[in-house]
C-alpha cells in the first residue's frame, strides 16, 4: 500500500524529525461503540419500517465506502485539468460501466417480463437547464470542496467548512425549487427525455454505452501519460 508509513529515507533536519509529537489517541474503541449504536438503530428502524431500515443501512454502507476509498466525484471532474491526474476519473468510469451492466439487466429483465421498468424517473429531459444546472454544480463543487455525497461524507469526517456548505446547499436547493416552475415552463419543457434503449434498441444501448465509456477511459489514460512525459 502506498499509504504505508515509511521513514528514514529522506534526510530531514533534526528540528522537524525529532519534534515532540502529541501522543496519538486510539479512536477505535469509540468507533466500535459507534458501530454498535448504528447497528442497533438499524434493527430498531427496520422493526418500525423495513423500507426505512434498508435506506439507513445502505446509507451507512455508501458513506463507509466513499470514505475508505476517498471516492470523490468532484476530483474525477476537476483533477484532469487541474493536476493532470486521471486516477479517480478512471475509477468513476469503471463504476459507470459496472453499474450500467447491472441496471441494464434489471431494466431489460422487467421489460421482457412485461413489468414496469424501474428507475425511469431518473431519465429526465435534456434541455438548456441541464447544461446550466450542471455548469453551476461543477463550479460549486470545486469551490466548496465536495459535491453532495462528498459534502455529507466530509461532514462525517469532522469538516466544519462542509457543514456550512451543506447548509447553503439546502438553502440553494430551496431557492432552485422555488424557481423550478419558471425553468420548467420556459426551458425544460422544450427538452426531451431520451432513454437510450428507445433509440438504439436494448442491445444497441449497452454496446453504445460501454463503447463511450471505453473510449473515455482510453482518453483519460492517454491524458495522464501525456502530462507525465512533459
Amino acid at each position: 500500500m502506498s499509504e504505508a508509513e515509511t521513514s528514514g529515507a529522506i534526510k530531514r533536519s533534526s528540528r522537524s524529525s525529532t519534534r515532540t509529537r502529541r501522543k496519538k489517541k486510539n479512536q477505535v474503541p469509540v468507533g466500535i461503540i459507534t458501530g454498535i449504536i448504528l447497528a442497533g438503530l438499524a434493527v430498531i428502524i427496520s422493526l418500525i419500517d423495513q423500507n426505512l431500515g434498508l435506506f439507513w443501512v445502505t446509507g451507512i454502507i455508501f458513506g463507509f465506502i466513499l470514505q475508505k476509498a476517498r471516492f470523490c466525484f468532484t476530483a474525477s471532474m476537476r483533477d484532469p485539468l487541474l493536476t493532470g491526474s486521471t486516477s479517480v476519473t478512471r475509477a468513476v468510469l469503471i463504476a459507470f460501466a459496472i453499474t450500467s451492466i447491472g441496471f441494464w439487466a434489471i431494466k431489460y429483465g422487467a421489460h421482457i417480463n412485461g413489468l414496469p421498468i424501474p428507475g425511469q424517473s431518473y431519465v429526465v429531459p435534456v434541455s438548456l437547464a441541464t447544461a446550466i444546472g450542471a455548469f453551476m454544480f461543477g463550479i460549486g463543487m470545486v469551490i466548496a470542496g465536495g459535491c453532495a455525497s462528498g459534502t455529507l461524507m466530509r461532514v462525517g469526517e469532522g469538516f466544519h467548512m462542509q457543514v456550512l456548505s451543506l447548509l447553503f446547499f439546502i438553502i440553494g436547493s430551496l431557492w432552485g425549487a422555488h424557481d423550478f416552475g419558471w425553468w420548467k415552463l420556459n426551458v425544460i419543457s422544450n427538452g426531451k427525455a431520451i432513454f437510450m434503449p428507445d433509440v438504439f434498441g436494448w442491445g444497441g444501448a449497452i454496446v453504445v454505452q460501454l463503447l463511450i465509456i471505453v473510449l473515455l477511459f482510453i482518453a483519460a489514460d492517454k491524458w495522464e501519460h501525456r502530462k507525465n512525459e512533459n
Binding site: S2, E3, K25, A75, T83, S85, E157
Partner: protein, 75 residues
C-alpha cells in the same frame, strides 16, 4: 538543502495539492518540503501526485487524522 514547511491543516481538496505543486516549483533540487495535511483525501492524492512527478515521498501519520507528507524535490 533547504527545508520548508507547508501548513495545509484545515484545507480541503484540491488546495493542499495546488499549494504543494506551487511550492515545489520554487524549490531547488534536493530541497525538502513537509506538507502538513489533515484531509483524508489529500493524504492520498498529494503523495500519489508527487511520486508520479518523480520526487521522493514519505507519508507519516503524526496524530489522529493528521499527516506529514515529506517531499524531496528530485528533478
Amino acid at each position: 538543502m533547504a527545508e520548508y514547511e507547508l501548513d495545509c491543516l484545515g484545507e480541503a481538496c484540491p488546495l493542499p495539492l495546488v499549494k504543494a505543486e506551487k511550492k515545489l516549483k520554487e524549490m531547488e533540487v534536493g530541497d525538502v518540503v513537509i506538507v502538513l495535511i489533515d484531509h483524508s483525501c489529500a493524504m492520498k492524492n498529494v503523495p500519489e501526485w508527487a511520486r508520479k512527478e518523480g520526487h521522493n515521498v514519505e507519508i507519516e501519520e503524526v496524530d489522529d487524522g493528521e499527516w506529514e507528507c515529506v517531499i524531496e524535490k528530485c528533478k
